[in-house]
Structures are given as structure tokens and as C-alpha cells.
């Protein structure tokens, strides 16, 4: 990897200042994605600001029954937190479906939000990639697209967002707290990740100096009955082809509350609002689930290599909702 200066920040303000004053500087958390990308020459920061010593590793109760999760909470620790288990099983399940136990012990919640795509053309410096090099073109178009997105894509980029956790966070309307030199702000999950459009290299709403400090989960009563279902090419330790984060409450055969988000199919963690709207107040049966799935997937842009994802996503949505309604 390209040589870099290493700074270990002692507090949040120091970390933010260190990055703000240094073009090309990057925050380093657990390293599971950034170190890999640096070794591949995809990320080439001149300065790396290690934030792992910052006091951001606590999970605290919020007055409304939600949780405030420090950005440096490790994925494994969050998955094991009994409050997460009880209030947001989909979060725990999403984390446990991701990567491997070793990686979950290293990876942080903040880093998970900033995970970069697994598009193989993004990873191969010899391939054209608009995300890596704006204006270079996209070799994924016309290439192997099994892992690529079908929702929210553009002619510039069809890369899928790889995170499992973010799918659950999207379903739960999480809020991301960030700190920059200008202070603290709160970004709703729906606005945190950007669709590629014609600027696929801009992936989040973060300014270059902004550090994710926490993720807040509001109280979402329906999430107590939730599920994260991940479908992939082997039984474990693989990225999602399709994943579904769903929460469902049925009263007297009618959908009283529902949350639905998709992974593996979206250019960003995909909140399925069209499906939710169709489901809310309607019957909780197989037909309704299928209609909702189809409505969500209707705008899908598919290619020969990922056309199956509409069928797979539909099947997985229906199966997950069926399971929750049963």
C-alpha cells in the first residue's frame, strides 16, 4: 500500500482537525475494509487518522426506548447486546449474517456505514470504474453483474451497497450522528447514502472532515418482531445476493405496522417504502406480500447477469413476511 502518515487521535475534535487539515486523510476504524482497499491500491490516503482509541464504544439507552450506538462499537459487541436482541432482532441478525466472526470482532459500526462496494471492477485497478476514477467509464456494464444492484442504479454505476447492518438501519429510520470542524449534525439514514447518478464516487452525505460518532436507533415497537434474511452463494461468509430486513405486526389479519428494507439489490441500503405503503392497513397474506414486492421491484433495471434478482428479491420478501406473519 502507499506509505502514509499515521496519527492516533486522542479525542474526537483532534481526529476531526487532523483529517480536516490534510487533504487525502482518512479515518481508520477496525480496518477490515479500508486496509484491504489500501493494500489493493484503491484507497491511497496520505494520512491515516486512527480513531479506535476514541471514547465512542458505548451503547446507551435513549429516553424514548431507543438506543444510541457509539461509532466504535464492534459489530460482534453490538450483535451480542441483549437490548439489541430484544428490541431490534433484525440488527443483531444482520450483523451476525455479515462477514466472519473474526471480522465482526474488528469491524466497527461507523466503518460499516462507510463500507465500499464489492464490485469486482471497482476492485481491479485495470478495469474502468467511475467510482474509482470519475469519468473513466464502467466495465461492470456488459460485464459480470451477479453481485450488482438493480435498484437506484445509473448508467455510470451499478455497484451494490455491500452492508448488511445498513439494511436494518434503513428499515429502522436510524439517525447518523457526525462531527466535523463545524460541529455536530444528525443525518437520517435515508439521506446518509447517495445514489450514484453521474457522481458515483460520492457515496455519502459526509463532508471530508466529518467523522461518524454514533448511530441512533429510535424506538420502533414493531421491530421487536423482526427478521433479517440473507440469501447468498454459500451458507456463510459471503455477501448478499439479496437480503431482507423486515418487521411486521399483524392485527386481525391486517398489517398494523411494517418495516421493509433490501440489501444486495440497491445502489444504497434500500428502504422499500413503496412496498410498505401497499402493505400498511391491508391483508397480511401471500398475495399482498407478492404485490408489495412487485411494486417495490417494478423500477428495477436489470442486466443479463442479475435479472434473477427481481425474482429472488420477490421470493425472499414474501418468504420473510410470511414467516413474520405466521
Amino acid at each position: 500500500m502507499r506509505p502514509f502518515a499515521y496519527v492516533r487521535a486522542a479525542d474526537v475534535d483532534e481526529a476531526v482537525r487532523a483529517v480536516a487539515g490534510e487533504p487525502g486523510a482518512k479515518f481508520l476504524g477496525g480496518g477490515t475494509n479500508l486496509v484491504d482497499l489500501m493494500r489493493e491500491g484503491i484507497e491511497r490516503p496520505a494520512t491515516v487518522v486512527d480513531v479506535t482509541a476514541l471514547p465512542l464504544a458505548a451503547v446507551d439507552d435513549l429516553p424514548d426506548g431507543g438506543l444510541r450506538i457509539g461509532a466504535l462499537v464492534r459489530n460482534s459487541a453490538l450483535a451480542a447486546d441483549p437490548r439489541v436482541h430484544a428490541r431490534y432482532p433484525m440488527v443483531s441478525q444482520a450483523l451476525l449474517a455479515g462477514a466472519s466472526p473474526q471480522l465482526r470482532n474488528m469491524a466497527t459500526v461507523g466503518g460499516n456505514l462507510l463500507q465500499r462496494t464489492r464490485c469486482p471492477y471497482f476492485y481491479d485497478a485495470a478495469a474502468a470504474c467511475n467510482k474509482r476514477e470519475p469519468g473513466a467509464g464502467c466495465d461492470a456494464l456488459g460485464g459480470f453483474t451477479r453481485g450488482h444492484a438493480i435498484l437506484g442504479v445509473s448508467e455510470s454505476c451499478i455497484a451494490a451497497h455491500p452492508s448488511d447492518l445498513c439494511v436494518a438501519l434503513a428499515a429502522l429510520d436510524a439517525v447518523v450522528e457526525v462531527r466535523g470542524v463545524g460541529g455536530t449534525r444528525r443525518i437520517p439514514m435515508a439521506e446518509f447514502h447517495r445514489l450514484p447518478g453521474d457522481t458515483p464516487h460520492v457515496e455519502t452525505a459526509l463532508a471530508p472532515d466529518e467523522l461518524v460518532t454514533a448511530v441512533e436507533l429510535p424506538a420502533v415497537p414493531v421491530a421487536a418482531r423482526s427478521r433479517y434474511r440473507k440469501v447468498r452463494d454459500r451458507a456463510s461468509y459471503a455477501f448478499a445476493l439479496v437480503s431482507v430486513a423486515a418487521a411486521l405486526e399483524v392485527r386481525d389479519g391486517v398489517v398494523a405496522d411494517v418495516r421493509l428494507a433490501l440489501g444486495g439489490v440497491g445502489a444504497k441500503p434500500w428502504r422499500a417504502r413503496a412496498a410498505e405503503e401497499l402493505l400498511a392497513g391491508g391483508p397480511a397474506d401471500e398475495d399482498a406480500f407478492a404485490r408489495a414486492a412487485e411494486a417495490e421491484l417494478e423500477p428495477a433495471t436489470v442486466r443479463p447477469g442479475n435479472a434473477f434478482k427481481t425474482r429472488l428479491a420477490r421470493a425472499t420478501i414474501v418468504a420473510t413476511l410470511r414467516e413474520l406473519s405466521g
Partner: protein, 745 residues
Amino acid sequence: MSTEVAEAGRAEAVRQVGRPADRFDAPEKVTGRAKYAAEFPYPDLAYAALVHSTVARGRITALDAGAARAVRGVIEVLTHENAPKMRPLSRLNLGSFVKGTNVDYLGTDQVHWNGQPIAVVVAETPEAARHAASLVRVTYEELPAKLDFAAEEPHAVPQKGNAIMRSAADKGDAHAALAAAPVKVDLRFTTPPQNHNAIEPHATTAFWQGDRLTVHDTTQSIAFLRKHLAMRFGVPERNVRVLAPFVGGGFGGKGMVWAGTLLAVLAARATGRPVRLALTRESVYHTVGGRTPTVQRVALGADRDGRLTALIHTSVARSGGMPGQVTAASRHLYAAETVHLRQSLVDLDLLPPTAMRAPGEAIGTFALEAAVDELAWELGVDPIELRMRNEPERDPLTGRAFSHRMLREAYALGAERFGWRERDPRPGAMRDGRWLVGMGVATAYHPSLIMPAAATVRLGADGTVLVRCGLHEIGVGAATAQAQIAADALGVPLESVRVEVGDSDLPAGPMAGGSAQTASAAAGVLAACDKLKRQVLALAGPPLRGRKPEEVQARDGGLHVGGSGMTYAEILAGAGRDHVEAAVKAGWARFLARTARDGRRWVRAASGAQFCEVRVDADTGEVRVSRWLGVFDVGRVVNAKTAASQLRGGIVMGIGLALSEQTLVDPRTGRVVNPSLAEYHVPVHADIPRIDVHYLDDPDPTTPLGLLGVGEVGITGVAAAVANAVRHATGRRVLDLPITLDKLL
């Protein structure tokens, strides 16, 4: 109890062959002391990294290494402009047999595939070498290239055969018979390229002292590699020492000599430093060939009773490397009235393929055994019953005898142990909640081969035995197996035997390939033990003096005739010797003559019956293998523990072949798109159920000790058994590997 029976009982009790002995090298492996090729320290060691081409075919017009040279710690950047030249391959040299490609690395500006190494950076640290390698800028004059296997497949040309590997066969008019058959299937299968993905990436540590070369390499071919390096670097063979005490998996990927090994040696020579080149995983994909893709047609015609009247199996694979025997199993498995077999090859501008675990058979048995299963569906006959109706008494094409054939026994035992009778034959009829359950079978088949092997056996005055043979400890328990064999041959306890392997200074062993290492070495070790016994007997005083070798038994740490005998220690002490040593040499002429002769007399192979249960998610099409049982006829088993592990390992790799593994080669660029263990999906723990392995343990009468080889037969038939179980679970016949869920949606 008569004396004879007591004697026999005692001999049986101390017998080592067949026992599940722990591996000799196990303590080193579980403590981290086992050292692999990239782990030998040298003072002043330098580290190398490769620069790969990014075009498939063309010429390098400019190569700018300025930025790379400027990186702190960089010692040298070797390119075609400044690298010392290697000598060409020679047809007359046996070392040429293990060439991975024909490319003269750094000796030419020509580019032959996307990923070809075109420069080597040598630096003081691995990080500096790798970073500098990423800074080398290259411009090319590109030439048109053939990169798309599917597009070129119609232009395949017939594969040349030879005495050992035949590529075509005809018996009667199979096309006419197929046309006339009342029941038939005619199917087109495809299998994708794959990579070995041994967890140890290829690595070499090379050290020159004058014109003497020491190489620590991760190789399956110590003796051939030594010849190859001597040839390419223009030094006498005796000046080259290849050391490979441990090899971190190979599966065929370390059989040939690939760029990394040559360029490490070249870099060491050019810089005058010991050089280590440990390939990145991506570099392995770019420089080490994998399994060829294939397109196969299997057409079967049968009468209404299910007797085969026509068997057609044709294959198209990629040229280069060692062409596999894709249709080999179709020569021997079924008593079809007519047979038509053809193998063809396509030339592409890609890194040539190479042998990967059961190179032709793993994928050839997929097509054949899936087609047989489909015929069983057409006929409404149980697939085991269909196979038994077509089980030949003699080799179907040649009429020769089988040296060993126990498929009936394998299926009978397997069906009973697996609970085949509980299978509801209707597709989709066995359901467990969200899971559709299916059961499938397929036949495993892999030819047996014995290669030349030299060995020495030395008996010490204290009764200890040292066996020396340049074998490869690639995970098969090579030393342990030969120790068991020598212990029995000399009648000494296993603890008294030590085996040295993994060094070209040892007598030359066979390649670790073709499932032949153990049997080949056994032939050498047994011959050496026999010779040793004669030498010891000649030294012995009464009561052994004057006895003929045939009268003497080796047991209890000595030689015995009836109830009386002497320990080895006594014999050597009496003769005033501190050791006796016997050596046997590897004879290539004898090997070729014996192989040809045996081939005229018998058809010899390991075989088996694979039983598989799958669960297919009714919504998503996810396939999980939930049970596995294999019954194998591998002749005699030397070590019940390690043999079972090898057979299981083959099945695990076969499950990957069936469900998840494929190397994606972009047909626009010839570039491997998923050169990583994250995106190339080998099976993980969660993919693998209990694998129940049985062997019939009946020695083959035509090989030393009756061994037939266990390394590859395990993977054969696996993909078909999975596909057949999926067919049973879902009613869907998947013809294209891997069976990913999108094919079942």
C-alpha cells in the same frame, strides 16, 4: 491353537498397514512449527512482487519503472529490457514436462494473456515491493485476441491422444443406435473454469551461491522442478537443491512450474540476494492455470428395460497444459452396445489451464452421471438399478479384464447405509418445512497409475529404520503411510521408522499427482525393503544362515524362520555393521514398458458410489447438502485415518464444484474478474455436512500392496450426485455448473 494360527494372529496384531495412525507431522502442524516455502529465513533476504499485464495479447511498447525505482527500499525492477535471460525449454529434457506455459518470462516484449508477469520488483520489504509494483506504468500495442470460450467452442479441433491418455473411441454406430433407441436422452452440459485455491499461495525462496541454487518452493514435483530449473538457468542438475518439507495444499496447481518460481530464481540471480516471492492471491490467479471449462454432450439410448444401446460423450475443453480425460469414465463404466467418444480443444489467448484434482474425470463424470440419472427418470427406473443393469463384466471397449471392480458391492453397501429405500422416487415429494429434500447417486471413477519412484531404506544397528524418498507432504500423510508400509515390510514397530521427504537430495520420488504418490512410492519402498532383507539375511549367522529369502519372515524387529530367529540388532552386531542400506532407482524405461504392458492386460481404477441428500429452499432456490455417504473401492487402504480424510476432501471440493465454484473470465478482456477468496466461493464449514466414508478395503491384485489411489476418486461423481439430488428435490435438471440458486428460481 496350532502354531501357524498363533503366528498368523501375532503378525496380524502388529500390522501397521490399514491402521488409522496419527500423522507423523501432526505435532508440527498444530504448533505452527511446520515451515512452508515462504517461511525460511535468510540473512539479507529481499522480497519480490510481480507486475502483471493488463491486456490479453500484444507487445509492450514502453515500460516506465521510474516511480517504482524511487520507492524507498526498492533494489531492482526487472523487465524484459534488463533481466538476465533464461535458457529455452528443451524437448529432450524431462524437466520440460512440467512447464506451466511456453512463455519466456521477461525474455520477451510479447504479451500472451491478461495477467502475464511482465516485471518483477525486488525490495527490502514485502510492502515496498508490492507498492512499487503498483507504480510500474506500461503501454502496449494491443493485438486481437481470442478470449471467449463459449464463442470459440464451435471451432474446437480434435484432441491428440496417446498410449496412456486416449481421446477418442468408437464401438459400432452409436449415432444410428441412438436414433433407433426407444428411450433416449441427449443433453448438453457446461462446466466453468475453476482454480485450485490451495490456502497456501504459491511461494518461492531462492538463494544462489555462485552457480549453486537452493530453492524452497511449494511444489508437487520436486524432482521435475529441479530438472526444470537446471535447464532454464544453465547449471548442472546436481547444483540445484529443491526443498519442500511441507506444501500447503496443491490439488494439481503446484504440479507444473509457474512464473513465480522461475522469476524468484531469476530475481535472486540478478540481484545477488536471497529472494522470496510469495504470490498474492490475485497473482496466483494471474499466473497459475486452473481447471479448463468444458462443453459436453452426453446422449444415451436404451431399450425399454434400460439396457444401453448407445453411449455418446463428446467434450470441448481448452488447449494447453495437460489436456484432461473428460470422457475417460465413459470408456469404462457402462456396457453399452455402441459407443462414440470424442474430445476436442479450443485455443484461447488466456493463461493455459492445468491439472486440477481429477482433471477430466471430475467434470466428465458430472455430465455422464447426470445423463444416466436423467435416463433413469425417462425410464421410470431407480437410478441404482439402471446402473446395475448396465454394469459390465469386462471393459466395454476393449474386452479386457478389470483388475478390480466392486461397483455392485459399493452401491449395495451405500444404499443400505444411506437409507436409499426410504427415498420417495417422485420429484418434490420429500419435504421438510421450507426445504425440498432430494436424494441422488452417482458413480465415482478414477484410473490408477503408478509412476517411477526411487527410495533408500537404511536399517540401523539399534533396529531403527530410515526411509528416504523425495515425496511431497502436501497433506496426504506421505511419510506416515510409507512408514506404515516399511514397518510391515521389515517387521518393526511404527515408532522405529523415520521417513525423510521433501528434498531433491533424497532419492527422486514421483510427482504428487494422478493419485499415484503413495502407490508409486510404496513400490519403491517395498522393493528397497526386500533388497534390504536379503542383504541382512546374507549377514546373519545361525539359525538364519543359508536360509532362502522366501523362507524368512520379517517380524518382531528381526528375521525369523518358523519359531526361531534373530533381531536386526543381533544380526548387525554379529556382522560388526552399524547399518545396512538398500537403494532402488526409478526406471523410466521400465515404467513406460510396465504401464504399456499393464494397459494391455487390465483396466485398473479406483471407483465408488456417491450418495447425496440435498435440501433446496422452496422460495429462494438455495441448495444445502445435508448428508453425504461415499463407498469407495480404492484397493487396500494404507492409513484408515488419512485415506478417509483425502476422500472427504475430494467430496468437499466436489461440493464446491457442484454448487459454488467458478472463475469468471471477462470475455471482453480475458481478465479474471474474481481473483479472490471473497468472490470465488470455496465451501466453508457451514456448507459441509457429516461425510460418511466407507471403503471396501479389498487389495487390487495387480499393484504393489493392492493400492489404487485415494487422492482424486473422491471428487469424481460428486457434482452429478448433487445435481441428481437437486433433480429429485425440485424436478429441475441443471445442466450448467455451478448449480447456483438462480438456476432453480
